[in-house]
């Protein structure tokens, strides 16, 4: 299945790191979530974007969000991540009520439990790629060498040439940046993952690697919410598709 990384045995009980969770416990749960934006400087226009969104994702399950561009897929994902404030309803991730949590609790959740691969890489200029990828592990207090080794393994797997590892990814091509972003998102074995178009702008070989990474994450019990415009990729990794247009404010009466 893979190179450079230990092959994981999905059915080995020793591998399951989430035994503290009840079998059916939800990693990610949204109950009746609404989101609207109030634009104070544009005549206080209120733009409702989502209403009554409910969703449950169990461990080891991948749910794909579908719907036309602008339907609110990324918005829903950002609400789960705590990047957007929900206007109403409850978002729970790994037992933490994200809607009520303090900033430091959300930061701890993001460090330990909830990973997010966004469409764009945002990094401090000048930091070498290897460090960018290792950072989530260093933030968790892992041994530096172990973190760098793991980062190197992921970069090699995603075909980022070794001569680029010491350089900042800010100068890389779009596809390379996207792969660095993915490597960073998979550096730590997050129990829950949000993936926004992880296979966009990738060639066939790298796309295959990313799909393998997603399958491995499912295998180790990660709950995943993804947006995939690539329908073949979606069919391969998604267990369930949820059309977010059902949460469009006009429809839910």
């Amino acid at each position: 299945m893979t190179r450079n990384m230990p092959i994981r045995n999905c059915w080995s009980p020793a591998f399951c790191r989430f035994e503290y969770l009840e079998k059916d416990e939800e990693m990610i749960e949204l109950v009746d979530v609404s989101k609207s934006f109030t634009l104070h400087n544009q005549g206080s226009a209120v733009i409702p974007v989502m209403t009554g969104a409910s969703l449950r994702v169990s461990r080891g399950e991948c749910v794909a969000l579908t719907g036309a561009s602008g339907a609110g897929k990324s918005t829903l994902m950002r609400v789960i991540y705590g990047n957007y404030l929900a206007s109403a309803g409850t978002v729970t991730v790994g037992g933490l009520n994200v809607t009520l949590a303090e900033p430091r609790q959300i930061l701890a959740l993001r460090r330990e439990t909830l990973g997010y691969v966004s469409q764009f890489l945002r990094v401090v200029p000048r930091v070498p790629t290897l460090e960018v990828v290792a950072e989530p592990l260093l933030a968790l207090g892992h041994d530096r060498q172990m973190a760098l080794d793991r980062a190197a393994g992921l970069l090699a797997r995603l075909n980022i040439p070794q001569r680029l590892w010491a350089l900042s990814p800010t100068t890389f091509s779009g596809g390379e940046q996207q792969r660095v972003n993915i490597a960073r998102g998979f550096a730590h074995d997050y129990p829950a993952l949000l993936l926004d178009e992880p296979t966009a702008s990738l060639d066939a070989r790298n796309r295959e690697t990313v799909l393998e990474l997603i399958e491995e994450a499912k295998c180790r019990g990660a709950a995943i919410v993804g947006i995939f415009h690539d329908s073949e990729a979606r069919q391969r990794v998604s267990d369930r598709d949820i059309d977010v247009s059902q949460f469009a404010p006009g429809l839910a009466q």
Binding site: H40, G82, N83, Y84, L85, P103, L138
Partner: protein
Amino acid sequence: MTPLLQVEGIEKRYGARIGCAAVSFDLYPGEVMGIVGESGSGKSTLLNCLAGHLAPDAGKVVFDTRAEGPVDTVTMSEPERRMLSRTDWAFVHQHARDGLRMSVSAGANIGERLMAVGDRHYGSIRSRAIDWLDRVEIDESRVDDRPTSFSGGMQQRLQIARNLVTGPRLVFMDEPTGGLDVSVQARLLDLLRGLVREMGLSAIIVTHDLAVVRLLADRLMVMKDGRVVEAGLTDQVLDDPQHAYTQLLVSSVLQV
């Protein structure tokens, strides 16, 4: 967990004018908080009240001291507060000249803070000074040079070394990257991030640069006319601002 700093109802008036008012928050160990707002919004006044440079007219600044646990630093005696600002606290000024002694060498600038906490061994002070110069990426050969011969970015890094050498737990920073070239800024941000993580520092950073807080701060407080109008997780406040003023601030940033 006990907050490292508990701020309750801080108010400072300049005559009838409000410097800052009704500011309350808790800061936990390892947290980095940014304070943003336009010039005159009261952010520097607040920082100076928190750091003991200005006496607030009302409110408490309770710091979790190593020896006695939480103590209100506003009512603390002057010598106690000065001891705190030499040991557990550090203050990085916008202009390095305000935080450095320009007439003594770089090594002495770092060593002075060590001597202030009782270090007397010349050899060990010098070797620690050199070690810190290296950590802030200043060549060892510059240890005996005065900061007047340093570039602006180097002076700022020297100021940071001088402040961090005693292993403080809370760092106050007033526009630490203000007035520096963008390339120098990036280098300083990278350095600060690394130090914050390695040393487990808590920090309060006042800046008007939203890009700086996005990269450095976990939490953000937005001030206008001396009051806090919005607070929360940094990326949430910047990406989904709730208050009219924050929306204006975020939408006014020029794109490059």
